[in-house]
């Protein structure tokens, strides 16, 4: 029988020799050009990193192709980033340009560094999950095609982190992104009274509802949903498969803006609702692509250097954000969950728009 609990391969065995020699002793770095980092160690040695974009959903053959290049230029060393890009790690400066050239012939975008738009963190969508309100890979591909230039250059005020999650579980952890694309349902789950008694536990189903919309119907061993209280989060479906929530006509995408994770300048912040709903329009989700592009362009034109999307909006005010982007403000933008009052304006300080 196979060994269990061996854990992942020791990362130390995966580090290129130049890293092993200079581990923890880096002095500074420079971005030589988009997608090309040079890290200089205290020893004076240099490590070159070539960052290439990836669709994340890749075939074994594609991985082998990457390996071929890593073997050819990097002595077989590479890594992936926390945003799913590929990083080729070299110590030989002379191989940098040839590698970039080969990447170009193979249509790998090189970039994502500095004040760029890097890869979109995303999730399974219709490819593998059971609760999605939209697809993941499709909208990401459609959007990246349109904002490709922002990946291969670094012309924005600061980097823009985009993420997509196909349902409110937010596996893409979109909740702290400059721009978040979030699949949402908009209709109430309908308990399948025939199946609930067999596949669901009533108390945990009741407990799964954040707004208390679900009541146990002990007599019929099922549950009922109060449509006034349900905001379609789908958590009941996660817990009880007999409460399907997907609805082709009403599922779609919401857009969130202004979140960040780094502590640089301002503290980490959540993304806030920009657009409550856009339709699912496969294969290229034009409404979503246009909406995100619009936000990026307005940001690019109005933010000051080094301002993240959220920092820019906080400086000019959300009133101004809605005016500049032309996005309509609705009652849905006003929080009505449990800590809503914290978001209400408790001051006469505001702008006219």
């Amino acid at each position: 029988m196979a060994k269990t609990d061996i854990g992942p391969p020791d990362y130390k065995t995966m580090l290129p020799p130049v890293i092993q020699r200079n581990y923890g002793k880096w002095r500074y770095h420079e971005i030589l050009k988009p997608g090309v980092l040079m890290h200089i160690a205290e020893s004076g040695e240099a490590l070159y990193t070539i960052r290439a974009g990836s669709p994340r959903l890749i075939s074994t053959d594609h991985i082998r192709e990457i390996c071929d290049m890593a073997d050819k230029y990097c002595d077989g060393y590479l890594r992936f980033t926390s945003r799913h890009n590929i990083e080729f790690l070299l110590d030989d400066k002379d191989k940098v340009e040839p590698l970039i050239a080969e990447l170009a012939t193979r249509n790998y975008p090189v970039g994502g560094t500095g004040h760029a738009i890097s890869n979109i963190v995303h999730t399974q969508g219709w490819v593998h999950c059971h609760t999605p309100a939209t697809d993941a890979s499709g909208p990401v591909k459609a959007l990246m095609d349109e904002i490709y230039d922002y990946f291969v250059t670094a012309t924005l005020p600061n980097h823009v982190r985009i993420a997509l999650a196909c349902c409110l579980n937010m596996c893409g952890a979109v909740h702290c992104s400059d721009i978040a694309i979030l699949g949402i349902h908009r209709t109430v789950p309908i308990p399948d009274n025939a199946r609930v008694p067999n596949v669901c536990e009533i108390p945990s189903t009741v407990a799964s509802c954040p707004t208390g919309a679900i009541r146990g119907d002990m007599k019929n061993k099922t549950v009922t949903v109060n449509p006034e209280k349900c905001m379609y989060c789908g958590n009941c479906y996660t817990v009880c498969p007999a409460m399907p929530i997907a609805d082709p006509e009403n599922d779609g995408i919401s857009i969130w803006v202004g979140g960040k994770v780094s502590n640089a300048r301002s503290a980490p912040k959540f993304s806030k609702l920009a657009i409550p709903f856009l339709p699912n329009n496969p294969p290229r989700w034009p409404e979503v692509v246009d909406a995100v592009k619009n936000i990026i362009e307005v940001y690019a034109n109005h933010a000051r250097k080094h301002e993240r999307v959220g920092e820019w909006i906080e400086r000019v005010g959300w009133e101004r954000f809605f005016t500049l982007t032309g996005i309509p403000f609705t009652d849905k933008h006003i929080d009505d969950f449990d800590m809503a009052t914290e978001t209400f304006r408790t001051s006469t300080q505001f702008k006219w728009g």
């Binding site: 269990t4 890593a70 077989g76 499709g138 909740h175």
Partner: protein, 395 residues
């Protein structure tokens, strides 16, 4: 040429960004599971709805986690994905690979699965995307032989992840890779055999730029920081002056406004600095973190279900982190024990603290209250006193 069976997806083969549809087609050429996956996805594009059923419980011997069960809701049309489970493979810390290891992984997966992967999943695992139930064990056996193991899923410790840190980054204040790997190896049991109330995630970032998004995405975030003065090389500051407007881009954007620049010298009032990293980010040659290095420990981060998303909260402002990381691991264990004892099913750590109160948590795990834990003290007067603080009742 025959009419395409996937006209909608075909449209996503064009465009400059690498296409996942091309990947699927590449795999589909030699793999019937990949072929049916592609066709089922086309149906989803047409119907605007997913075609997967709620996952069932499947796995490998001895483990409770690492596999996500998945079944098609149209096995009539797509028999090869009737069962299509993914394996979550724990990545080498920092997502560093030698090509031979990667090739081995590919070989195992071509042998047992769809030939499709996610490099990587958003928790950090290498995701092997879809295989039949009967392949799971043999696939695992081959993975194990190739030196790989599964990551977490279910109510377990999830695959910890770390930023590249000292592997490449001059700002690393802690050895994020080693801490992460040490935790991963120490807690293999907790990763593979779900015995918690719910999932538990740990992420390690070696400085407060937090390149692994730990503060937003983990129940326990470990983020490198320093004490003492930022190290300044005034000559290098001067060297940046032609390319960076130091007053505007550095000093004016310092959140605590604790920097002064007179065109010749940069002065930092370090007691006011909150170590945001901004100035260092802009002038890596000139500025370096202070010399006394360690980590801030934060807890509670998570996505919105059930009670709204949480960012992690500071619970230890500064902890030295050196192998074998005893202080850290003791703390993690005290925290997990308390959580395990007190949480309801599917209650994340942050939610439990929200329910029972930070006061109760701190006492239980033996941490002192310090002002660094809060943005500001409470505004409501609903203060609890401990029995020992009260004079014997006299009324």
């Amino acid at each position: 040429m025959a009419e395409s069976k996937t006209p909608l997806l075909d449209e996503l083969e064009t465009g400059k960004w690498p296409s996942f549809v091309k990947e699927m087609k590449q795999a589909a050429e030699k793999n019937p599971m990949a072929r049916d996956l592609l066709d089922q996805l086309e149906l989803s594009y047409k119907d605007k709805i997913g075609h997967w059923k709620h996952g069932g419980i499947v796995g490998v011997k001895g483990y409770g986690s690492g596999v996500i069960g998945r079944y098609s809701d149209r096995p009539d049309l797509f028999p090869n994905v009737q069962a299509f489970h993914t394996l979550r493979v724990n990545h080498p810390t920092g997502w560093f690979y030698k090509t031979d290891a990667l090739r081995n992984l590919c070989d195992v997966w071509d042998k047992h699965g769809s030939g499709l992967t996610n490099m990587h999943g958003s928790t950090g695992d290498a995701i092997l995307l879809g295989t039949r139930t009967e392949h799971l064990q043999s696939c695992f056996d081959d993975l194990s032989d190739a030196g790989f193991d599964l990551g977490g899923s279910g109510s377990a410790l999830r695959t910890p992840s770390a930023c590249v840190g000292p592997g490449r980054c001059e700002w690393a204040c802690i050895d994020s890779l080693d801490v992460c790997y040490n935790i991963t190896m120490s807690y293999q049991d907790k990763i593979h055999r779900p015995m918690f109330p719910y999932k538990f995630k740990i992420k390690v970032a070696a400085c407060s730029n937090d390149c692994v998004a730990s503060i937003a995405r983990s129940d326990l975030s470990i983020i490198g920081t320093w004490k003492g003065d930022i190290q300044i090389d005034q000559n290098e500051v001067l060297a940046y002056a032609p390319t960076i407007d130091i007053q505007k881009e550095v000093c004016d954007l310092c959140p605590t406004r604790c920097m002064e620049w007179n065109g010749k010298e940069l002065k930092i009032y370090n007691e006011d600095c909150n170590r945001c990293m901004h100035c260092i980010n802009l002038m890596p040659k000139a500025l370096r973190p202070g010399k006394e290095k360690g980590a801030t420990i934060l807890i509670g981060g998570k996505a919105p279900i059930l009670q709204g998303a949480l960012l992690s909260w500071v619970i230890v402002p500064f902890m030295k982190l050196e192998p074998p990381y005893t202080e850290l691991k003791d703390l993690i264990e005290r925290i997990q024990d308390w959580w395990d004892e007190n949480a309801k099913s599917r209650e994340r750590l942050g939610e439990l603290i929200k329910r029972l109160g930070m006061r109760v948590f701190l006492r239980a795990v033996g941490l002192p209250a310090v002002p660094q834990m809060v943005k500001a003290p409470r505004t409501n007067p609903y203060v609890f006193f401990w029995p020992e603080e009260i004079k014997k009742e006299v009324k």
